[in-house]
């Protein structure tokens, strides 16, 4: 494939181009705004530093997320695998699961296997890996004959495999569809927007807290505002993405938006619950200005399987593509 045809192939759906240009534009605009406010002396030095740090992180994160999606399905699945392993690393160090080396090793194998099944486009194995991996995780530490803490380490490991293997793996599996690029880009954009919308609407309107015990800064108005904004954006973008399919119907697109927003917010609250229970603020220090990798990608964890099965039920994924491509 020449560069020209590869380019037109990657940008076959107009939404792909809109989102890539939109993100690039937003980064440039953010830089201009921060520079302008800095020059006008409107930003206190600590805030200025924080804003540049966050923007700098985004300038690395955005290409790291967008380029594999444009490059092809193998790259998407490879990126999802690395993301899953990075999340497991942070989760393991935060919960203490990392001290259970062999059980952790089983989770690593489970994550690799799920992504291998996605790469092979073998749905049967992809689905079978949930009970199989959990079974291996459950028996991994039995031969060491140390039953104390068995329930805790197996529960933590199964939870980890569910989140970073089984659930996140759906994001890579979506790439088996010929039209995956605009859909995954929209999901990443919508999930990010969902967080920002909840923050901005919550700060602007205020009002009662959502779940103060879990996450003291979230408000009910922010959650509802995010639900409305994300649903509108997803409904609009899903039109040209699913043109000519059953998913084009307005109620179905609205349903998709509601699922993305609710699953995204619950992903966020789920990580908040984990952090509150352990008594930590961030999951790591990998991304300056953001915290850990999990702090950035928590919202995606539940969105991936929810959207996969919703869209999969209505139009299916990769049904016209070859299966069992590796073995």
């Amino acid at each position: 494939m020449t560069l020209d045809t590869a380019w037109s192939f990657a940008f076959a759906n107009p939404v792909t181009g809109w989102i890539v240009l939109g993100v690039a534009g937003a980064l440039v605009l953010a830089a201009v705004v921060i520079a302008g406010l800095s020059l006008a002396g409107r930003l206190a030095p600590p805030l200025r530093r924080e804003l540049w740090l966050r923007l700098g992180s985004w300038c690395l994160l955005a290409p790291a997320m967008i380029l594999p999606i444009l490059a092809g399905r193998v790259w998407v699945i490879a990126a999802v695998t690395l993301l899953g392993l990075a999340c497991l690393g942070e989760y393991g160090r935060a919960t203490g699961l990392f001290r259970e080396r062999f059980t952790t090793f089983m989770v690593v194998l489970g994550i690799l296997a799920v992504n291998l099944a996605a790469l092979d486009h073998w749905y049967g194995f992809f689905v079978a890996l949930m009970p199989l991996s959990c079974g291996f995780i459950a028996i991994a530490s039995i031969p060491f004959d140390q039953p104390r803490g068995y329930v805790q380490r197996v529960a933590l490991a199964v939870f980890a495999f569910f989140l970073f293997g089984a659930a996140l793996g759906h994001l890579g599996y979506i790439a088996n569809d010929a039209n995956y690029r605009p859909l995954i880009l929209m999901l990443l954009l919508a999930v990010g927007l969902n967080d920002v919308a909840a923050y901005v609407v919550g700060k602007t309107l205020g009002g009662p807290k959502l779940l103060p015990g879990t996450s003291p800064n979230k408000t009910l108005s922010g959650a509802l505002g995010a639900l409305v904004i994300t649903t509108v954006v997803v409904t609009l973008l899903a039109g040209p993405i699913f043109v000519g399919t059953q998913m084009e119907a307005l109620p179905l697109r609205i349903g998709l938006g509601v699922i993305v927003s609710i699953a995204g917010q619950f992903g966020d609250l789920m990580l908040s619950s984990i952090k509150r229970d352990i008594g930590i603020k961030d999951m790591g220090v990998a991304i300056p200005g953001h915290g850990g990798v999990l702090d950035r990608f928590n919202s995606l964890l539940l969105v991936a399987p929810a959207v996969f099965h919703y869209v999969g039920y209505i139009v299916g994924f990769g049904l016209d593509q070859p299966t069992r491509v590796l073995f």
Binding site: G92, R93, D277, D282
Partner: protein, 152 residues
């Protein structure tokens, strides 16, 4: 040992800070690199030095502090590599910070290959010793210590 929902001792530190931390705990990857290094050292000692170990049965159960004289850098590597495999991620040679933790590369080697913990010679704080003592007993570790403080 009872299970505790407890983050790594060096949780929340940057990689650079982790390397030089007395609270460092190797994660999954760190244990793998440490284990590989140990096997390389064992192979080297067996092939080139025909190493023979006597009195292994006198080793107590962890935790314990292993004290030795210090004739060469091989002392640390040898002692760490012949201790039982079951202790592999719990053995920490105590190393001079001014010799082994001066640059990023040295610190990374000392941390991820040797699993050494840094001690400041002549500037050790009371809290440093307290941290080491607490970790030794709570986590059932093994420290390899050279009281001469330098090579004899």
């Amino acid at each position: 040992m009872d299970w505790k929902l407890k983050p790594a001792g060096d949780f929340g530190l940057s990689l650079r800070e982790r390397l030089g931390s007395l609270r460092r705990e190797l994660g999954f990857l760190g244990t793998a690199t440490h284990w590989c290094w140990r096997e390389i050292v064992r192979l080297y000692l067996r092939v080139f030095h025909r190493l023979r170990v006597e009195g292994r049965e006198h080793l107590p159960e962890a935790p314990f502090v292993m004290i030795a004289n210090h004739a060469s850098h091989l002392d640390t590597l040898t002692l760490a590599s012949v201790l039982p495999l079951a202790l592999v991620d719990r053995i920490h040679p105590i190393a001079a910070e001014d010799a082994f933790f001066t640059s990023f590369a040295r610190s990374a080697f000392a941390a991820f290959a040797v699993n050494a913990l840094p001690l400041r010679r002549r500037a050790t704080k009371r809290t440093d010793l307290g941290t080491l003592r607490a970790r030794l007993t709570e986590e059932e570790l093994v420290f390899i210590l050279f009281p001469e403080g330098t090579r004899s």
